[in-house]
Amino acid sequence: MSAPLLTIADVAVELPTPRGNLRAVDHVDLSLDAGRTLGIVGESGCGKTMLSRAVLQLLPKKAKLTGRVMFDGVDLVRLDKERLRRLRGRDLAVVFQDPMTSLNPVLTIGTQLMETIQEHLELDAPAAKARSIELLAAVGIPAPEQRLAQYPHQCSGGMRQRIAIAIALSCEPKLLIADEPTTALDVTIQAQILDLLAREQRRRHMAMIIITHDLGVVAGRADEVAVMYAGRVVERAPTQALFKRMHMPYTEALLAAIPKLDAAPHTPLPAISGRPPDPTRPLKGCSFAPRCRYAADRCHEAKPELKSAETSGHLYACFHPIQMAEGIGA
């Protein structure tokens, strides 16, 4: 097998804060093959967005990044600015969380689409316009030609996210990073956007990283899932294997925190009690131990490393993995 499209090797991100250095991403290793989908799951502040920004090289100026991000044979961390710029938007695209803020309010939709196309592909204005119309139609925007002259505020949230996706797809990227692409949208729109992403991914054979706090989002859509907690990957497995048997108590808790449609009315939602540890004061033991109902003394004393489970490709970081007799459905 050839080298993976994306290899994140030992990536750590530190942000200086007045209260000391904040370790947002704590030595993460991940890889992704061309055409595959990786889901990165975790609650707010677990470092999943910082990790995606590290891949895109869009970290805040003061952030310190170590490790390597190998993309298509080049290390993005050490790539010079000009080559990085040519790569972004063309081979490496992103869809941000909030379509209300990720499109420029003073530029028309046509400008925002065409500028990417004209920057990276050698197309003249009429060709770029034709391609923009095609893209808008592909992401399910009615009357795409009229939309080009409109501004973002004239479109609904779901519409704007479709436009953001059209921008991301405009140069046929090899990798699309979707950072919580549905979090800011109405529930009724969420599935449509996720299906759109999945469909376009298959059609264009691009690799995709879906970042989400919702295990349900990745369940049917990702080939592999990485669960992050406090800046580290704590469990990583092919999606089916993960849902068949979770090893980390945190993953289990995340799944339990999704409201069930078939639950009786007024069933309390089993939220994860407590909050993630202060990232400026790393714990000696397992970061999840203070909130974990299985935690024992050892969990507070030492940090569990990622180790392989019996199932191939399944990694987890826990001293007391959950013993589950039967798999739970997603």
């Binding site: 710029r85 972004r88 695209a93 909030d98 803020t101 309010p105 530029l107």
Partner: protein, 316 residues
């Protein structure tokens, strides 16, 4: 868009009315009777009473306001009792000077302020940014008369590059006319650019934190396109406001700079009117300048709509 223009126009009517009332009150409520001013200290009470009747000064205030407003609406702002010149004539004579000074000053101010602001915001906190922010602060705290004297000393006295004072109309000697304007315009511009630079710089820094700038970077756009197309336009609303206020302020002439450089502009007309208690001129000039100010701000409002489509479409 037309709807927007009409709405804004209707909104400035009451403002103009209030401006006229205030201008009238300022001139009318100043201590001292106009009739005494005109007739001098040798006037007899009978003469004064006769003149007051002639000028309508014996009428109640509200009546005087309405009749003055009626004349103003017909384009008659009154006539100086000293020179016999009408207000419109006096202003028409002086306004090209003040207008030219204002345009040049604002142009130079923007020419310095905008590029410096963009360069500072692009590397906020860097050496250039810190140096320019410091310099701007120093310039801002320097009074214009001091700046004027320093510039005259350097460029007129020491280097002999430019004339210190004086004026020729543009139509007579265009190049010479411009030479006379360089120093006064520069004096004003050196006080204008720090404000321009500071508002644009801070708005740019805020804009550069926006998600859409991160997306523009992620799209692989050139840094110049990100700065000038994606960041400058949404950051320039405050800049347009400040420029509008500056223009409005300079429209009324600049008392100090016009006096130092002996430019016969609106500022000097006003100073003269105040010294000679020429209330008709004073009242008329203040009214015209205030209306100019309101109109400039109306144009600023229209510019907002050009810059931000959300205002144009009534979403704010």
């Amino acid at each position: 868009m037309l709807n927007f223009v009409v709405r804004r126009l209707l909104a400035i009517l009451p403002v103009l009315l209030a401006v006229s009332l205030l201008t009238f009150l300022i001139a009318s409520l100043l201590p001292g009777d106009l009739a005494y001013v005109i007739l001098g200290d040798q006037a007899t009470p009978e003469n004064v009473a006769a003149l007051r009747r002639d000028m309508g000064l014996d009428q109640p205030l509200w009546w005087r306001y309405l009749s003055w407003l009626g004349h103003v609406l017909q384009g008659d702002l009154g006539r100086s009792f000293r020179t016999g010149q009408t207000v419109l004539q006096a202003v028409a004579e002086r306004i090209p000077v003040s207008l030219e000074l204002m345009l040049m000053a604002e142009f130079i101010g923007l020419l310095i302020g905008v590029p410096v602001a963009i360069a500072c915001a692009a590397r906020a906190g860097g050496a250039f940014d810190r140096f320019m922010t410091g310099s701007a602060f120093a310039m801002l705290s320097m009074p214009s008369f001091l700046m004027a004297i320093l510039l005259i000393y350097l460029f007129a006295v020491e280097l002999h590059w430019l004339p210190a004072t004086g004026y020729v109309p543009f139509t007579e000697a265009p190049l010479n006319n411009l030479r006379f304007f360089v120093l006064p315009a520069l004096t004003l511009a050196l006080a204008e650019w720090p404000g321009i630079m500071r508002v644009l710089r801070s708005d740019m820094i805020a804009t550069l934190q926006e998600d859409y700038i991160a997306l523009a970077k992620a799209k692989g756009l050139k840094p110049s396109r990100i700065l000038f197309v994606h960041a400058l336009k949404p950051s320039s609303l405050t800049l347009v406001t400040v420029t509008g206020i500056n223009i409005g302020r300079l429209l009324g002439g600049t008392l100090i700079v016009e006096t130092i450089f002996a430019l016969p502009g609106i500022g000097r007309l006003l100073v003269g009117a105040i010294y000679t208690r020429d209330l008709v001129i004073l009242q008329g000039v203040v009214l015209l300048v205030a209306c100019g100010f309101v109109i400039v701000n109306f144009i600023v409002d229209l510019l907002y709509a050009v810059l931000d489509p959300r205002i144009r479409h009534g979403h704010t």
